[in-house]
Amino acid sequence: MQTAKDYLHIFLDMGDALLNSGAEIFRVEDTLNRMGYACGATHMNVFVITSSIVITMEFPGDGARTQTRRIHEGGGNDFTKLEQLNDLSRRFCSHPVSAGELRKEFERINAEKPKPFWKLLGSVLAASSFALFYGGTIPDAIAAGIAGILIWGLQKYLRPVCMNEVTFQFVASFLTGCAICGFALLCPFLHMDKIMIGDIMLLIPGLMSTNAIRDVLIGDTLSGIIRLIAALLLAAALALGFMGAIILFGRLGL
């Protein structure tokens, strides 16, 4: 007979992975609730905010058990993983398996990492296309693409050693801004504003703020507010970084 003790840990791991692959708060809560009832719990209480998960499970004949998990990573997006986790939970709900088997399947999904090459291609393509989108020329798009490579490199190598997301955002924006100002200084025919907008699209916490407002509107007020404040801080750090670069180069006589 499986009990709460066996399931709680894997459920927390799944909730963690769901949050970090871009699932909404209500989706995580809903998924964990369903999975709990599917494996025979009489009561499930799941509370999720962006930085913590609390699960209480009650099995017949076995008292209630609670475990919490602090979530440290900021929410990234990995839709393939999200899809696979969703599929796993759906299969689990129709055919509950033991905690050990669930863990095996989960580990298999979690081990898969997206290829860095696709991220590089995505960064370059996004920066170039948005430079064109906002009225830049082809050389602008190419310069934005080169700065996109820089952002990709910073995200891969600098982010792990940065104190937190806001610091990274500031440093990355400042360095990218300096690089773009340098391009514009060397090639006067480039439009600095269009290139910067293209690269801002890669760093801007636009999805984060949209998600935050949506969380508030559909009832997860607390998570929404946490996310909104984080998004505002990130946007401010981004603006400060680019502004710092513009002012620095302005002083140098651009």
Binding site: G22, W118, K119, L121, G122, S123, Y134, I197, A239
Partner: protein
């Protein structure tokens, strides 16, 4: 006219690029492109009709979420992945930049205007998608009963 065409095409490419960044399945990338194209088209249509930022963004957010929900049913996937990639061209990157450059130039009034637009964009999209989400939830629970 040419700017519109360029924007529609590059918006679609931008959506695909973010699909790659967010590790979307390769077979759905064409749907992301269609979503990006569609969302900017709806936004431009709304802008022609009402002329400001909030209502067009709301309409675009609404339509895109309906599009994502339909695709989610058809492909048996989560609607989030379709919604997030389709909504990318609406992200207010340019207004944030112009807000920032106005601050650098010392033009506070213009900075406030751009800052307000940035916020209204985000709020409009989120409100539109929440309305669509609420309607879909309602329909689902009526059907389930």
């Amino acid at each position: 006219m040419t700017t519109t065409v360029i924007q529609l095409i590059t918006g679609a490419i931008g959506s695909v690029a973010f699909g790659l960044l967010f590790h979307m399945k390769t077979k759905y990338l064409s749907l992301a492109a269609a979503g990006g194209f569609f969302s900017w088209l709806v936004f431009l249509f709304g802008k022609g009709l009402w002329g400001n930022v909030f209502l067009p963004a709301l309409l675009a957010g609404f339509i895109v979420d309906v599009y994502a929900e339909i695709l989610a049913r058809v492909c048996k996937e989560t609607s989030t992945s379709f919604f997030v990639t389709s909504v990318i061209p609406l992200i207010p990157g340019s207004t944030l930049y112009y807000c920032m450059s106005s601050i650098v130039e010392g033009n506070t009034i213009q900075a406030l205007e751009y800052g307000r637009d940035t916020f209204l964009f985000a709020f409009g999209i989120a409100a539109g998608m929440s309305i669509a989400w609420a309607i879909c939830y309602f329909l689902r629970s009526v059907k389930g009963r």
